[in-house]
């Protein structure tokens, strides 16, 4: 049996190690309770001064017991020992302390603590300037608590989207009765609680409710709720964020209590809850008292001491001193007395504590020392004694001699702070209430209400009554029940509490700046003197002080320290707390695993991979793929260990010399129908479609209203009032939304409907001098002659037995047929075309070759040759702008703004390197004078650049200032490797400038 384990508490023994040393705990323990049971005093070192620290609390508020769980890929940094459920073979270690937490060499720094007041780093390390990065390296070395794993997470996480009528947050007394009332009405109810068991404070309570012991009362109520199929119970589930429109996020830990990593299923699950109504029953945190050296291991919260005794059967010490400002902590003296261990005294700051519980404590023979403060704890790695002294009624000064009390445990209580965190997330401004010496939740715009201790109601009867009302009301507001509690009020016997004293800083015989450190925020070593110093330096705003001192910035988010800190600040500023301001909490309530927030949308499911119908064929052929938006497009088809350039040369020559085939299915396709279709399309494109006849296609450019090119593609007239618009691959969704925007919001009078058919059609582009011969082999019902089926025509027919639509449009400059079939037939038709082309050595080619071929022709790619700042004129495409169109098409007016008509705009040209083997890098900058000094006057940049196998030299497209009037000029591209490549400005059309080849 461990040192501090009470005989009465038994259970399955669990082995674990802490800092390499083996210990035993009992099933149901947290790591903290097990460490305390084993008498482990020091669990960590503080962040700044490396002071030894022990377990202080018992839940989410714990500032000191920060541990690293496990090792290897599954290790988890920064868990709070109070929230880690013990499992067999658990391994944990302290996050700081070298060589060990007990003998930390950094502890020496603590001795120089006075040289490190808040903000000291702002005031030094500045000189000499060049040494700062060296200083910083040392500062950074001291950073951090635990260590992140270095391998990928072996666990997975998922999410559930939940909807409910009433979400009850917290399953303490108020939450449980709220859930019961709501459940009764038939409303969909979710109850979430961060602990492994429901019951909240009742789990450590010895009170009786309705004649049952508290834990039994909880068990029966939970059983009742579990039997309701309209109720979902989520233990080990922390509501960590409250967002707009009643959206709340819950982290459910599904396997953390079983082992470091999940043996099966997901480790954690995030519930994304949209609740019609929310009941917040999140309880309260006990507030520590701020006295000198209140951080020595052995100083704890009174309620934590009681919890360890009553719930875990652990008495974390032998000789207890209780230090309190209120009645509540007297219960701890009673609980401790029950264990048979020594209660040295109860130190009460109130001058004349009276009332039932005080009497009950005195009746046990326990000494109550009233009107005193515990002004300082002494000891090194464990409390050895307490210094107490009489203090004045206001609690501002020591008024008499100091006495020593030998003890090894100090249980302190400065009252209770409602856990208003979630309420605060909603933007509700907390309200200071003197009567409870704490902030109550403010009013918010969300559909929520607080009940019980988080609303400042600390007596059990009050909590139960508020919970019941809140549950019934919430149900009614979501449409269920009458809004009046239906279950009878629970009968509870409890002491009537006497008023507490508001005391946020216990006076010392020395002034704040000279007394031993009186810690306010343990994790970040923020002391009362630090807050006072910040004020002395002129930081008046609470936000400034928090930022200057780091108060509340730890992983406990100031759950213990914020109120004391604010009160000390208020006092230093000679203001009330209400005047000083409020404390705003932000998500997460407690730290939340990134992996759980990411959910399943990682690795292969991070983003959809969109495939065409021929994707498997491409994979089988060993294609390399390019990501274009979400699509996977074949980039090139390497054969026999070819390099990419070799593949592209081969593919390109095949198209120029015989025939190639491209999967063009990813192009966006929009079906447009309606009597005003032509008019509408004409307003959207720069050119006119009013006279486009059925069977014909036309290339168009679309502008944003600012006049800049936004998308381009071919539009075909399929029949009367019926068109098919092609968009770029990346632009498909955007163009459809763009058309809908204009039709629905600007021109609803135009009768036209748009439907995406991108996925319906699979497109195989057969291109090259032999294209017609290939098509002829698989298509007999279309007259394929140039006269009957000309360039920019389309025809319906049958290809390889499948009804198909063929477009004679060309992005390569060669004779081209774009064969479209419904996607189910895609692979069949593709394979038929491959078979038909075999005798012509038909060559599949990818996007890279497509880019080369179109660049040889000077065809632009929107998004590569344009960047959102290019007009059609800049692209030398004035021919596509219908200047005489009656309607002012979208973007037209912007083409006449002063900057759009400016001379010297960047214009699309070709660049031909003087050394034909030099391929300019895409993105190279163009200068006119290569000899100028930096900063150079840049005149443009290369947008597309390739080696053209068919031309035998490199080609490039570039946008150059005034380029259209600079043909023949030699320009220079200074590269990163020091080379300067000279090139001549030429026409952007390199291949077949007269455009004869696609007309054959």
């Amino acid at each position: 049996m461990s040192l501090n384990r009470l005989q009465t508490h038994t259970g399955t023994t669990l082995d674990f190690t802490f800092n390499g040393k083996a210990y035993q705990g009992i099933a149901g323990d947290t790591l903290a309770s097990a460490l305390l049971a084993n008498g482990v005093n020091v669990v960590g070192r503080s962040f700044k001064f490396a002071r030894p620290r022990g377990i202080f609390g018992h839940g989410a508020e714990e500032p000191n017991g920060i541990i690293q769980l496990g090792s290897g890929a599954g290790t988890v940094p920064n868990l709070k020992a109070t929230q880690v459920e013990l499992y067999q073979d658990l391994e944990a270690s302290s996050v700081n302390g070298w060589p060990s937490v007990n003998y930390d060499v950094m502890g020496i720094i603590g001795a120089f603590g006075r040289l490190m007041p808040p903000g000291f780093y702002y005031k030094t390390f500045m000189y000499p300037k060049k040494l700062w990065m060296t200083y910083e390296r040392f500062i950074r070395k001291a950073a951090g608590l635990g260590a992140t794993p270095v391998e990928a997470d072996p666990d997975s996480y998922d999410k559930l989207n939940q909807h409910c009528d009433v979400l009850v947050v917290g399953a303490g007394p108020a939450g449980l009765v709220a859930a019961r009332e709501a459940a009764r009405t038939g409303a969909r109810v979710i109850v979430a609680d961060e602990q492994s068991e429901f019951g909240g404070s009742l789990l450590a309570s010895k009170q009786a409710i309705d004649g049952l012991q508290a834990t039994n009362w909880v068990a029966s109520l939970v059983a009742e709720l579990r039997a309701c199929n309209n109720v979902q119970l989520l233990p080990r589930s922390t509501v960590f964020g409250y967002y707009d429109h009643n959206f709340l996020t819950i982290l459910e830990r599904r396997t953390d209590h079983l082992g470091l990593t999940a043996a099966q299923g997901v480790r954690q699950r995030m519930h994304r809850v949209r609740a019609a109504q929310v009941v917040l029953a999140t309880g309260a945190f006990e507030r520590p008292l701020v006295f000198a050296h209140n951080d020595i291991p052995g100083v704890m919260l009174a309620s934590s001491v009681s919890t360890y005794v009553n719930r875990y059967g652990v008495a974390p010490g032998n000789k207890l001193v209780v230090f309190t400002t209120n009645d509540n902590a007297y219960q701890t003296a009673l609980d401790w007395h029950e264990t048979g261990r020594d209660v040295v005294a109860v130190i009460d700051t109130r001058s004349n504590p009276s009332g039932d519980i005080v009497a009950a404590v005195k009746a046990k023979g326990i000494s109550v020392i009233a009107g005193h403060g515990l002004i300082e704890a002494q000891g090194n790695q464990r409390v050895k004694r307490a210094l107490i002294a009489p203090i004045n009624a206001l609690g501002t000064e020591v008024t008499g001699p100091v006495r020593r009390l030998d003890c090894d445990l100090i249980a302190c209580s400065g009252g209770w702070s409602p856990a208003i965190h979630l309420s605060s997330h909603t933007g509700a401004k907390p309200v200071w209430d003197e009567s409870i010496v704490g902030f109550r939740p403010g009013e918010s715009k969300q559909q929520e209400r607080s009940a019980g201790a988080c609303r400042g109601t600390f007596d059990l009867i009050g909590c139960l009554a508020e919970g019941a009302t809140a549950g019934a009301e919430a149900a009614k507001m979501s449409g269920y029940g009458e809004g009046i509690p239906q279950f009878p009020c629970s009968a509870v016997e409890e002491f009537v509490e006497q008023p507490q004293q508001a005391l946020f800083l216990v006076p010392h015989i020395k002034s704040i700046s000279r007394a031993p450190s009186q810690f306010v925020d343990f994790q970040l070593d923020v002391s009362a003197s630090g807050i006072e110093l910040a004020v002395r330096e002129g930081f008046e705003s609470v936000e400034h002080v928090k930022r200057y001192t780091a108060l509340g910035f730890g992983t406990d988010q100031g759950k213990l320290g914020n109120i004391n800190g604010m009160a000390i600040l208020a006092n230093a500023l000679d203001q009330t707390i209400a005047e000083t301001g409020t404390t705003i909490f932000r998500p997460s309530y407690t730290p939340t695993t990134f992996g759980a927030i990411a959910g399943r949308d990682v690795t292969n499911l991070f983003d959809p991979e969109r495939y065409t119908a021929m994707h498997r064929w491409h994979v089988e052929q060993g294609a390399e793929f390019e990501d274009v938006g979400q699509w996977k497009r074949p980039w090139y088809f390497p054969q026999n260990n070819e390099t990419m350039q070799e593949s592209v040369n081969r593919e390109g020559l095949a198209v120029r010399n015989t025939v190639g085939i491209l999967d063009a299915s990813t192009l966006g396709k929009i079906d447009i129908q309606g009597p005003d279709a032509a008019e509408f399309i004409t307003r959207m494109y720069t050119n006119s479609y009013l006279k486009l006849a059925p069977g014909k296609c036309r290339y168009g450019v679309m502008l944003k209203e600012d006049g800049m090119i936004f998308d381009d593609g071919v539009c075909a007239c399929l029949g009367e009032n019926h068109y098919l618009m092609f968009t770029t691959t990346g632009g498909a969704a955007g163009v459809l939304a763009w058309l809908e925007l204009w039709q629905q919001t600007e021109w609803p009078d135009l009768q036209v409907y748009f439907t995406s058919v991108t996925d319906h059609w699979t497109t195989a582009t057969v291109t090259g001098p032999n294209a017609r011969k290939v098509i002829a082999k698989v298509c007999s019902d279309i007259e394929l002659s140039n006269e009957a089926f000309s360039f920019m025509d389309w025809r319906d027919g049958t290809v390889a037995g499948v009804k198909a639509r063929i477009f004679r449009i060309s992005f390569t400059g060669e004779l081209s047929y774009e064969v479209n079939v419904p996607a189910h037939y895609g692979r069949h038709v593709w394979e038929a075309l491959m078979a038909a082309g075999e005798e012509f050595n038909i060559t599949p080619y990818g996007t890279e070759t497509m880019h080369v071929l179109r660049a040889e022709k000077g065809f632009i790619i929107v998004g590569q040759d344009t960047d959102g700042s290019m007009t059609p004129a800049d692209m030398n495409m004035d021919w596509v702008v219908g200047k005489n169109k009656t309607f002012s098409f979208v973007g037209k007016r912007s083409l006449y703004r002063s900057d759009s008509v400016r001379e010297n705009r960047k214009q699309l040209v070709g660049l031909k390197t003087l050394q034909g083997s030099d391929v300019l890098p895409e993105g190279a900058q163009v200068v006119f004078d290569a000899k100028q000094k930096i900063p150079m006057s840049m005149q443009g940049h290369v947008t597309s650049s390739y080696f053209s196998a068919s031309l035998g030299h490199s080609i490039a497209l570039a946008v150059v200032k005034g380029g259209h009037s600079r043909l023949g000029l030699i320009v220079h591209c200074p590269l990163a490797d020091g080379r300067i490549i000279a090139a001549e400005i030429v026409s952007s059309v390199f291949y077949d400038p007269k455009g004869e080849r696609h007309h054959v």
């Binding site: 989207n161 119908a613 129908q673 309606g674 058919v757 996925d759 319906h760 189910h824 692979r827």
Partner: protein, 218 residues
């Protein structure tokens, strides 16, 4: 068209090829479901059906009666509903937009029939190649829907008229038209290019229950 033509539905490569064996049920979540069910999630693709997008003015009585005349089905005018007759369903997609699905149907025949009857400003578009209909059944379906979509499908169960509901919404990072069926299963219409992703997602989401993907005609 010739019988030798090889058709590939969007989930062609998943049929029977990638079935996951169900894991032995250990977790508390698994215990919620019928231990005898071999698979908690069965995904069945209704391959190669007719899908038409229909546009028109729902507030025009002529239009509605013409559709009924052509199909023997009422145009659903209530948002979030669908009408079914045998293998043919019409889903409300928007105030002037419907999806018409005929399981195993011939899109061309269907379009011709509609075009013969419908007058005025309408649009009919064959999108059969662009999407597919999959049915999800099994005790794990409700949870899989919660994993995949933000829509509140439980609200359908609670509604007075539980049947005939349909919604177009997000499904993981793709989208789907999801509808309920009288046997407690759900139909999903998904886009072809996202089908691989959706299948991978379903196999993953259904893993805790055991998941298989099968085809109607297999």
């Amino acid at each position: 068209m010739s019988k030798s033509i090889k058709l590939e539905s969007p989930l062609h490569y998943f049929h029977a090829a990638l079935n996951r064996k169900p894991e032995p049920v250990k977790s508390p979540a698994g215990a919620l479901f019928n231990d005898e069910a071999e698979y908690g999630l069965v995904v069945k693709e209704a391959t190669l059906s007719a899908h038409l997008n229909l546009r028109g003015d729902g507030s025009n009585a002529h239009f509605c009666s013409e559709v009924t005349e052509a199909l023997g089905l009422m145009v659903p005018l209530t948002p979030g509903t669908y009408q079914r007759n045998g293998n043919t369903s019409i889903y409300w997609l928007g105030p002037s937009e419907w999806l018409l699905v005929e399981i195993g149907g011939d899109a061309e025949e269907l379009e011709t029939r509609l075009r013969k009857t419908l007058t005025g400003h309408i649009s009919i578009v064959d999108i059969s190649g662009g999407q597919t209909c999959i049915n999800l059944r099994g005790p794990g379906v409700a949870t899989v829907l919660k994993k995949s979509s933000i829509y509140d499908f439980e609200a359908w169960d609670n509604a007075t008229s539980a049947l005939g509901r349909a919604v177009q919404t997000n499904f993981a990072k793709a989208s789907a038209i999801i509808s309920n069926k009288s046997d407690g299963s759900y139909d999903l219409v998904i886009r072809r290019s996202f089908a691989d992703y959706v299948a991978q997602w379903l196999l993953d989401a259904g893993e805790e229950f055991g998941c298989r993907i099968e085809a109607e005609k297999e």
